[in-house]
């Protein structure tokens, strides 16, 4: 970072646009409300989707973390607010408050009960990914030995998510499972909340061009990820992120690309967790263990790079957050 000189125009546009970061790990180990959120807000980020649980806990741990995070937000109601709708997000921004929504990075916390989709939605969860790297009852993860498709249960889960109005997220999920999920949705939107392009760097966590195309065809959005390992860049520079961003924009146009930075403050803790869960994290094409995460200051750098590449102002606004907002208005109930 910080090798790019950000113009006043890029800075002003980042400040003026609705900026939406669609993924921030926020389990008990990562949540640092006062250490992280004000910094993102100060860098122009208006809405953050907090991952209140990933593969590390079931229903009990998930609901407990949701309780803690809701209480932490309520205690800071002058600065931040949990949002349930596109209107609430715009109102939060107008009031100068950081908007927050929740997401889940797994489906195990449903514990086999479809009714839990609505319950999580009612507590603030607006997207849920199907399988985190490894296989579960819904389908395969992207790092699994096999690449089977959706289970019967998985088809029910997707249908219930669509009924409830929760975004169906294919991040971390196996290729075939995502393709079948999009087929099951039959044209209703599908997202990848925080994924980069396999064509740019063939990591198993990155998604292929036909996944990107199918997602765009559904009206969905893909959030660019800022984790150095998936960028093949230890320093997670804005230039590396832009390569992935530009690849997707060239492939499917600017209406289907957004941000899902995946920022983790305590990077060493994350890398220890990866090392301890080798079944979920097999070897990558190049060893980037310990690499950096993109920082919130880089959002303005990305704006700068988009402007330099000739992206129009309206397009930049869409990518910074307008696309996610449009999709929220379309899908959330």
């Amino acid at each position: 970072m910080s090798e790019i000189t950000v113009s006043d125009a890029a800075r002003a546009l980042t400040r003026d646009a609705l900026v939406w970061d669609n993924t921030m790990p926020w389990g008990p180990e990562y949540a640092d409300t006062d250490g992280i959120l004000p910094r993102f807000h100060a860098n122009g980020v208006d809405l953050i989707s907090l991952t209140v649980m990933g593969p590390e806990a079931g229903l009990d741990g998930t609901v407990r973390q949701i309780a803690r995070v809701r209480a932490a937000i309520t205690a800071r109601a002058d600065r931040m607010v949990l949002c349930g709708s596109a209107d609430a997000i715009e109102a939060a921004r107008a009031a100068g408050r950081l908007g927050l929504v929740f997401n889940l990075q797994e489906t195990n916390m449903l514990e086999g009960r479809l009714d839990m989709v609505q319950l999580y939605y009612d507590l603030g969860v607006r997207h849920m990914l199907l399988a985190y790297n490894a296989r579960n009852a819904v389908g395969d993860g992207c790092a699994e030995r096999t690449d089977g498709g959706l289970s019967r249960w998985g088809i029910q889960v997707i249908e219930e998510m669509a009924r409830v109005g929760m975004w169906v997220d294919g991040t971390h999920t196996g290729y075939r499972t995502t393709m079948e999920a999009m087929e099951a949705l039959g044209g209703r939107p599908f997202i990848f909340s925080h994924c980069n392009a396999h064509a740019v760097y063939p990591h198993y966590r990155n998604i292929r061009d036909d996944q990107i195309k199918a997602c765009a065809a559904s009206g969905g959005v893909i959030g660019l990820n800022g984790l150095g390992e998936f960028l093949d860049d230890d320093r997670a520079t804005s230039g590396s992120i832009f390569h992935h961003l530009d690849h997707m924009v060239q492939l499917v146009g600017p209406r289907h690309v957004g941000l899902g930075l995946d920022y983790v403050q305590d990077a060493p803790r994350f890398w220890r967790w990866v090392a301890d869960n080798a079944h979920m994290w097999p070897a990558a094409p190049s060893d980037r263990a310990g690499s950096a995460f993109a920082q919130p200051e880089q959002v303005a750098e990305l704006t700068e790079l988009m402007l330099r590449a000739g992206y129009g102002e309206a397009v930049v606004r869409d990518i910074l957050g307008g696309n996610w907002l449009r999709l929220a208005r379309q899908v959330w109930k």
Partner: protein, 354 residues
Amino acid sequence: MGRGSGELYERVREAADPRAVALYEDALVWDMTMPFAQHYAEYDRTLPRFHAAGVDVISLTIQNMPGADLRTATLYIAHVRAEIARRADRMALCTTMPEVLAAKAAGRLALLLNHQDGSPLGGMTEMVEVYHALGIRAALLAYNAKNGLADGCAERTDEGLTRLGERVVREMCRVGVLVDGTHMGRRSTLEMAALCAEAGRPFVFTHSNAHAVYPHYRNITDEQIRAAAGTGGMVGVNGLGEFLPDVDAGTDAIFRHLDHIVSVAGPRHAGLGLDYLRDEVHFWANVRATASAWPDPPGGGPRVDTRFAQPEQVLELTDRMVCAGWPDDAVRDVLGRNWARVCEAAWAPRGKPA
């Protein structure tokens, strides 16, 4: 009284004083407790039967028996909410007074959700707000036995609230969950009343009878009745035969308790909390299986399996009130207006956590 539907109600209606019928059918009728654990939950006969018998609002206890943990309680809330949502033409889950009144106006049964134990909190005060977000609008902290929050009314000891119990009561007051002392130890309830008074919230017993009428450990003393009334709260009269005591759970026996509560606290501090459940055999088997929480009633065992008051008896109870010369306003207050007033005061939103 046997099982049935509108026919049963018609029979009671014919026998009642016409003034009572006219008053009853025009009044807001509110039952603050119906056990609705998995085994008792019945959406297409029990709830419509109450509705046909003139009950407009029912608070469902949606936790699978005392001691249910966070996970089990959450799974069950998800299930009950979905079952109610599937019957949106007939019933509505309500979380505010305007929603309750709108449901009644639209001819739908208004349903509230409550917990009868602090166990679903899993030891976390933050869970109070989560359950509130999911629709829980009343809760007690300890069901008959001791737990990490308080003592139950059937315990060997009568200690007060724990430190965590105090925090939970304060959080309920902040968030807007009605604080209920039913099933709890005397000292814990008096401490809860004091905390509620401090917070400017009403404290209630949703389904408790009068110890002065019958000294069962599940019934509450005049001191407890006054403590609730002193916060602007109230007591819901219970229709379970053992607490009356009356093996048939007759209306006269229920009226004796209601009349006593009204004589102690006035007609603005009494209401209904019938505690009806559809499978009495299962209930009594469960009581025997959890003997530590259900010691013998006064006079010792063996315990007699009593009946539970039936929904059609609410009209009979109205008839008793009218025939006893209660003013119309007092009857309407007891049938539902008191719960409406008290719940509105208990649910009004407040600010941030302390």
